[in-house]
Subunit: 346 residues, 2 copies
């Protein structure tokens, strides 16, 4: 006597027997395919319900040739930005019959390993890369998978993508300070987190410098730090230690801005009267810091990415493969008019 591996699950053959029809009919009835009378279909469906039978996705996919799964690859699940993207993707895919397989590639090592072993290989119908900068070599490996690839929060060759215009975001943030009359404006930017160049920092910097030029303001101070809150703490410290500190600061991200604000609070510098700060993101805690910022629709980007994948899988090439979502200034309390006495309190 052999013991079944999965004692509980009954299969389609069992169901067919009890329903008194062939397995093919059951398959058709349950999958919604045509070729079954409505009555038979109903009968089978009810029976399946009663016996709480579910079609084995693995077997179905083996037979059909497509997996019904999409892989999401992200550098850091825990981080607000990626988590929000993921959230958007998942909701964008809800309702479709696509499941999400999650891969995190935190460090350079893991990322190399991911592209070498391609664990998602032959497992998914599509791949969504979340703001993951990628080398040409890796792109080639990816194509080897032979699946749809979509980039969310960046670009990737000709592959479909969703993103924001980072140059514009940088412009908007900077313009907000220029408009308020500031003339000594600095930026706490963020590069070098990845060994591969991530596009956002340089794009935002470009927006920053462009606006300053257009306003006829002198080329200004830019410090580079890690793009988390601690980067902001350090960056602002450095700016404060300058002989002639700026009166306004553009932060690469809201988290950087949070850190900057903490430094300012500890240093007793009045915000926005002595120092104005503007971030980029509209982090869900930005309101708690009263932070003026440039909102980028993160969840929506994920959502669009999900829909893009769904569309492509369903009907081939997408209508609009490259989506750029708008950003927009959200004015709160950390920006204000030029201080009357530069450097002095209040």
């Amino acid at each position: 006597m052999t013991v079944a591996k999965r004692p509980v699950a009954l299969n389609m053959t069992d169901l067919a027997e009890r329903a008194g029809v062939s397995i093919a009919t059951v398959s058709r009835a349950l999958s919604g395919a045509s070729g079954v009378s409505e009555e038979t279909r109903r009968k089978i469906r009810m029976l399946a319900d009663d016996l709480s039978y579910a079609v084995s996705p693995d077997a179905a996919r083996l037979a059909r040739g497509s997996s019904g799964r999409v892989a999401v690859v992200t550098p850091d699940v825990a981080h607000w930005f990626y988590a929000s993207m993921l959230d958007g993707i998942v909701t964008g895919l809800r309702g479709t019959d696509l499941d999400v397989l999650l891969y995190e590639v935190k460090e350079e090592r893991e990322r190399r390993r991911f592209f070498e072993e391609l664990p998602a290989r032959r497992q998914v119908d599509a791949l969504i890369l979340v703001a993951l900068p990628i080398s040409d070599d890796e792109r080639r490996r990816l194509d080897l998978m032979g699946v749809t690839v979509v980039m969310a929060g960046g670009t990737l060759g000709d592959h479909p993508h969703v993103r924001i215009d980072d140059v514009e975001a940088g412009r908007q943030a900077t313009a907000q300070l220029v408009r308020a009359g500031h003339t000594r404006i600095a930026m706490i930017n963020s590069t070098g987190t990845w060994s591969l160049e991530y596009a956002a920092p340089s794009a935002r910097l470009k927006g920053f410098t462009t606006v300053l030029e257009e306003a006829g303001l002198p080329a200004s101070m830019v410090v580079n730090r890690h793009w988390g809150s601690h980067g902001g703490v350090e960056g602002m410290s450095e700016l404060l230690s300058l002989p002639e500190p700026p009166t306004g600061v553009v932060a690469f991200s809201d988290e950087v801005a949070f850190g900057a604000l903490r430094t300012l609070r500890r240093a007793g510098v009045a915000v926005p009267h002595t120092m104005s700060v503007v971030g980029i993101d509209d982090h869900h805690l930005a309101d708690m810091f009263d932070l003026t910022t440039v909102r980028q629709p993160v969840t929506e980007q994920g959502l669009v990415a999900g829909q893009l994948v769904h569309g492509i899988l369903q009907e081939g090439e997408p209508a609009a493969p490259h989506v750029v979502l708008p950003t927009q200034v959200v004015v709160r309390g950390t920006t204000g008019p030029l201080p009357s006495l530069p450097g002095g309190p209040n």
Copy 2:
């Protein structure tokens, strides 16, 4: 002439042909099973590498009977707590050959749908529930899946779980204020987010009241709000409007505390001199708010959950199925000694 659905992928039979051996040998060689000479194995592995062939997981799993996947079910991917849990789980599972299938059940509707349709059904070997309160009925449905179920951040019948001691967390937070000499201590708690009772709020409340009793302090004010930052904003407003406001507040979570701090800042109430605040979590931005809090190891809980699942799948029943991780006070700037002039500034 028929067109192949997946033109690229070659299969094990192809590989076997080119290697001049049978498909069984290839399978054994690639899976690491015994019964192949080392030389043959090496040869086959090299060939597979050259042709960049990878075993089809679906087919392998169909044949083997286990999916090699684990489902993670969480109420909100974007939220710091769940995202951190997820992060821990993913890292805990890294290195094993288990993939993560992600399911988000945000609203009551979706959650009901999840348990009715069980999309993860027959797709995974195990299920990790992330702080998801569950009814008895749903638990029964779950057992019907016939897979290992692990709870992270809570309990679930006899199923293995990882969590913290929420009563203790509540105690520690409250004790921190009592120790500082506060006598009018309030709590901004959080209930009713789910239709099902979530255990943490009542447990933390219990810790709160117990400490007050032990200290001989009068039963104190407790307001209930949503457990996000806006709940904290509202909760603190309500407390401030009291005829005799407290001098110390325990917040259900750090996010609630963030909101509370914002209200205090806007109201011009000095922290910690006029009002002390302590949170629970040690959110990664807690430091930016200078928030005193009770740290709970979130990522670690996820990590343990992942390891638990891996262990169970590998060797059956786990050695220690119920893990309780310690919490610990982190003192920062939002708590201080009892104000000399209650209610007055500074």
